[in-house]
Symmetry: C2
Subunit: 186 residues, 2 copies
DNA sequence: TCCTCATACTTGATGATTCAACAACGCTAC
DNA sequence: GTAGCGTTGTTGAATCATCAAGTATGAGGA
């Protein structure tokens, strides 16, 4: 996830694969490589987005026997007053595809943590509902998970830093959403 | 990746799964749930670490036909003076397991982007070396990738914010490393 | 009525990651 | 030398995610 500078000085190949600007179909002249500050920041973020999910996933598997994604799904449901939510809404809340959620829901159903029921309303809606066992599972896993989130992120930084990180993360999410919307238009 | 508050007010089950503090083997009394500020920050970060890698991966697959991880591996190599590096070092730089790297290296080798050679030195070392085709592949993919990194992160934030994010990410990485080290000790 | 489109969800195949086991090598001790 | 041990790297099986295709349902026309 690095390589944000230009092509490196060629080691043994005297002929760098330089591409003529005029042959580009896209309007890239010389790309704007990252400055050393930007590069350092990006390397740190890249490391974080690669390793933080893995660390949280490992903690949950170790201490509760569920994956981070399973936890997220059940946690979202546990916060609803009726422990119940529409599949596509869960997918949005958990930042996942409907397909991934569906496969996971099947496994959670087999484990007795979840039930799916077709909604009587309009459209082809399905609600996922946490069972009592499912609720107990999240409730049991929650303290350890929150402790891990504190230990690996929250308790490491000042509230100012946390505010900055929040603003940045929200900007990133908004940009990803708008990029999706643009792709859908074209 | 939410549920950082305490157990929710019980909906239809009158009996919350409250756990007696004294039966805990670990020294957790009532866990320190997240404040609303912390919770909002964590939700944003959780969304970012879930969706930013996917967005960058999608861009590279679309425009260069390689995965984000393959790009990272080749990018790390391309920055070495001899396009060459020891497997375990690549794994560290790319924040990945040696197993994952090994499988990916085999595929890259089959595609002609990489070569692996046993080192003559001490230990059972293997060096991965970028081929000319591999170098050209990263060089061709780099501008689009950097543009995506700019578009989805760097260009969205002030340099102060970027500095904060860098500090936070580095703290997170250090903490994950130290947690690993502790686990190794016990 | 029937056709098409759009949304919501599921499923099976394909490909990638993980996990545990193993192989290769050097080091140290006896 | 040879028996353990730590490091490094590979491999096969199981697990999981993604992708494309399919099902189910309602809306909007012709």
């Amino acid at each position: 996830m690095s390589r944000e500078r230009g092509p490196d000085p060629q080691p043994q190949e005297p002929d760098p694969p330089s591409r003529s600007k005029d042959q580009q179909s896209e309007p890239v002249g010389e790309p704007r490589w990252l400055t050393s500050e930007e590069r350092a920041a990006w390397l740190a973020v890249a490391g974080m987005i690669a390793r933080l999910p893995a660390a949280l996933d490992a903690q949950l598997r170790r201490e509760a026997g569920i994956s981070l994604f399973e936890y997220m799904v059940m946690a979202v449901l546990s916060e609803q007053p009726d422990w119940s939510m529409q599949m596509s809404q869960i997918a949005r809340d958990a930042s996942a595809s409907l397909s991934r959620l569906s496969h996971n829901a099947r496994r959670l159903e087999q484990q007795g943590y979840l039930e799916r029921t077709r909604c009587p309303g309009p459209g082809r809606r399905t609600n996922a509902t946490l069972t009592q066992a499912g609720y107990e599972k999240v409730a049991q896993a929650a303290p350890g998970h929150v402790a891990a989130v504190r230990h690996l992120l929250i308790d490491l930084v000042t509230s100012e830093q946390l505010g900055s990180v929040r603003a940045v993360a929200q900007a990133v999410l908004a940009q990803i959403d708008s990029a999706h919307a643009c792709a859908g238009e074209g």
